[in-house]
């Protein structure tokens, strides 16, 4: 009468796996995935920071939906935050206050959610620049670059929607500016704004519920889909890697998915989660109770968007009030910095892999990365873009900086305008020169060897520094090593002169005696 065959506990994993495989035949694909190799350069983990903060956003966001009600019904606040008792407000704002003051653990959840949003978009941006500077977007990976641009754009929109739904005075100010931006679009602006807001701003209370469904369902669903596609392409096309010993266009060196990488990834997820929880617990973010409910007549000094929209705000602040009139049609000044400029930026970013391939006439596959120094023009351009974004970000907060550091606001505006014209070309030029200099030094070491720090005096009195060549030398003492765009050792102990060094970033993770023993064993019979 036994339904199940008797299995010893030790056989349970094997039997369980067989049970699954007999029914789903997944052993072969799973084996391939488990054996997938991940290279382990730290910069490859920037994307993971974004991925893990997204998971945290999904978790905390789901918690928030349990208590948040996006309704625009007017209520009288009766929660435990006394300074707002008896004030009229929307249910959306009232429930945000309830999450902050009356739901157990609600405030820290809201704060982790908001910090995770900032880290999510921030990590995506940093990850994108890593991909850019190392040429990881080149054929065959253009599609994944495009998906990345889509993720970044949607991430910004998602953040803006989230920032808007609590219906506090700051989010209302943001929505009013967004409304003005949409209105500024020629021909269609008015219609689009009316359609989105359900009438003239602030509309009849449609906008918050609409943003809510966009924020908790529409965009997250698309984001999850895009993230899945991003990962699938990554697995299919395999990782890129930096050039180095044994690394070719045809292989990947690193750690297997299972167990090495999975353990590391799991650990790293816990660390990212921990950092976000620490931020949420220690640092106050978006104190909506100070802002009060949104009312048309309430505007505060120092109103800012989150940083991922801040650069557009900076551009709006710097742009002169040029209104253009064509064919009886007025285009408000805000149209150029808030619609045209971000549009151009994102279009150029999306097209970059194709543009670069066209300019360099490069039709090859690339699985090996480039070091930034080996592509000075691209690196210079990237640095220039970073400088523009930083100037715009600073200008987006120029009133705060003016107030805190006692600088005139007008001076800040003009500094931003002039900086925007002067700084980027300078940054380009300097970066370009630095790249060439670094390359030059690599070539020098390849040809002449490492500086040993040993000074010799020749019989006729001349002093020379002794160089340690990296390979066989010819009669002139020159080495003929090809420049391969791979790291070149720059210090004697990198080639074993001072004995092997234990590895580790903050503290050694190996024992010195072990390392030395290993080196001796490797050196074998070679005794001097």
């Amino acid at each position: 009468m036994k339904l199940l065959p008797k299995i010893k506990p030790a056989q349970l994993p094997a039997a369980g796996a067989k049970f699954v495989d007999d029914r789903l035949t997944v052993a072969t694909p799973m084996r391939r995935i488990f054996n997938k190799v991940f290279p382990d350069h730290w910069s490859f983990m920037l994307g993971e920071i974004a991925l893990y903060s997204f998971v945290v956003l999904l978790l905390t966001g789901t918690f928030l939906t349990l208590f948040f009600d996006p309704s625009m019904t007017e209520v009288v606040y009766d929660g435990s935050y006394t300074p707002l008792k008896g004030v009229e407000m929307s249910r959306a704002y009232a429930t945000s206050l309830d999450i902050s003051f009356d739901v157990r653990g609600g405030l820290i959840m809201r704060q982790i959610h908001h910090w995770a949003a900032l880290v999510f978009v921030g990590a995506m941006t940093v990850h994108m620049f890593r991909t850019f500077f190392t040429g990881a977007f080149r054929k065959p990976r253009e599609l994944n670059w495009l998906i990345g641009i889509g993720l970044l754009t949607l991430g910004m929109l998602e953040g803006f929607a989230g920032y808007s739904i609590p219906d506090d005075a700051l989010s209302g100010t943001g929505l009013r500016i967004m409304n003005a931006i949409i209105l500024s679009i020629p021909l269609v602006g008015t219609w689009v704004a009316y359609a989105i807001f359900g009438g003239e701003f602030p509309g009849g209370g449609e906008i918050i519920p609409r943003l809510y469904i966009t924020h908790v369902l529409l965009i997250p669903a698309i984001l999850v889909g895009l993230v899945a596609a991003h990962m699938a392409l990554l697995v299919k096309q395999k990782h890129t890697q930096f050039p180095g010993k044994g690394r070719t266009e045809k292989n990947v060196m690193g750690e297997r998915m299972f167990p090495g990488f999975a353990a590391k990834g799991g650990g790293f997820f816990m660390i990212v989660f921990g950092v976000l929880a620490m931020l949420g617990g220690w640092f106050q973010i978006n104190p909506i109770w100070l802002f009060g409910p949104y009312k048309g007549e309430v505007v505060s000094a120092g109103s800012q968007p989150d940083f991922y929209v801040g650069w557009i705000d900076g551009w709006i602040r710097l742009w002169p009030a040029w209104e253009t009139r064509n064919f009886d049609y007025t285009i408000p000044a805000v149209f150029w910095p808030s619609v045209v400029f971000p549009g151009v930026v994102f279009t150029l970013a999306a097209l970059w892999p194709f543009l670069e391939a066209k300019f360099t006439k490069d039709v090859h596959f690339h699985n090996l990365l480039q070091r930034p120094r080996d592509v000075p023009a691209r690196t210079g351009l990237g640095a220039m873009v970073v400088s523009v974004l930083l100037i715009l970000l600073i200008s987006g907060g120029n009133d705060i900086i003016a107030e805190k550091f006692d600088i005139s606001l007008n001076a800040m505006t003009w500094a931003g305008r002039i900086g925007l014209i002067i700084v980027p070309p300078l940054v380009y030029f300097v970066t370009y020169r630095i790249c060439l200099g670094l390359q030059q030094h690599d070539r020098e070491v390849l040809a002449h060897g490492l500086e040993t720090g040993i000074i010799k005096r020749l019989p006729h009195g001349e002093f020379i520094e002794v160089h340690q060549p990296l390979g066989e030398v010819d009669e002139h003492g020159h080495t003929h090593l090809e420049y391969a765009g791979a790291p070149v050792p720059k210090k004697m102990n990198k080639i074993g002169a001072t004995g092997a060094q234990p590895r580790g970033v903050f503290f050694p993770v190996e024992r010195r005696s072990d390392v030395e023993a290993e080196q001796k064993a490797l050196a074998g019979g070679h005794k001097e």
Partner: protein, 263 residues
Amino acid sequence: MKSSVFAKMGERFRRAVVLLLALGALGGLYAAFSPTSTAKDGVNTAADEATYVREGQKLYSEGCISCHGRNAEGVTDRGPSLIGVGAAAVEFQVSTGRMPMARQEAQAQRKPPVYDSDETTQLAMYIQSLGGGPEIPNGDLREGDMSAGGVLFRTNCAACHAFSSNGGALSSGKFAPTLKETTDRQLYAAMLTGPQNMPVFGDNQLTPQEKKDIIAYVQSMKESKDPGGLGIGRTGPVPEGLVAFLVGIVACMFAALWIAGKS
């Protein structure tokens, strides 16, 4: 045995008396020196008032006359007329240290006051005696409805002083200052007299009760702790973005370096 119990009782009693005396003395000292006990409460009789005005005039001719003129009629390019600005304006300007002004600048700034509260009252009463003008009422100025005050503050004041009352930049180097150190009476006086670039909120715009509501709100907000942890200036997205990068992303990147270094 018994005597020692009594001795102990006596000891305790003496200690209690000493404690009470000490507390009483402390209370008296506090009452004498605490900034909220306005010296004006001591001005009861007409004779008192006359002395105060006379003292005020003396102080005026030492510290203010160079810019505001012999009869407070003003001096071109140096200082405006003070006729009719009222005791409230004087108390605000002098107790926040703005007057006497040190040098001509975009905006007179808050400094440690030069005159003590008695002298300030004397100056105020002297100017009041010249042409009248608004006065700060006595009594508890914080006796108001905090939530009503919050609504009024956000509609009338936040545009310049920000939600947090931490201040904000205006054009051309002018700014609305933080209200961090501002006292109840200074808040009231600022609304009543509208110093420099600040509009006047007369009793028609904000009734005395509404002013007290605002004071109740501002002072309680300043004193309240941040429920969410470190307030990072209560300034919103600018410091928040900095913290997200400098703390959040940098910490994660160090973790990445550490993990990658272990393989």
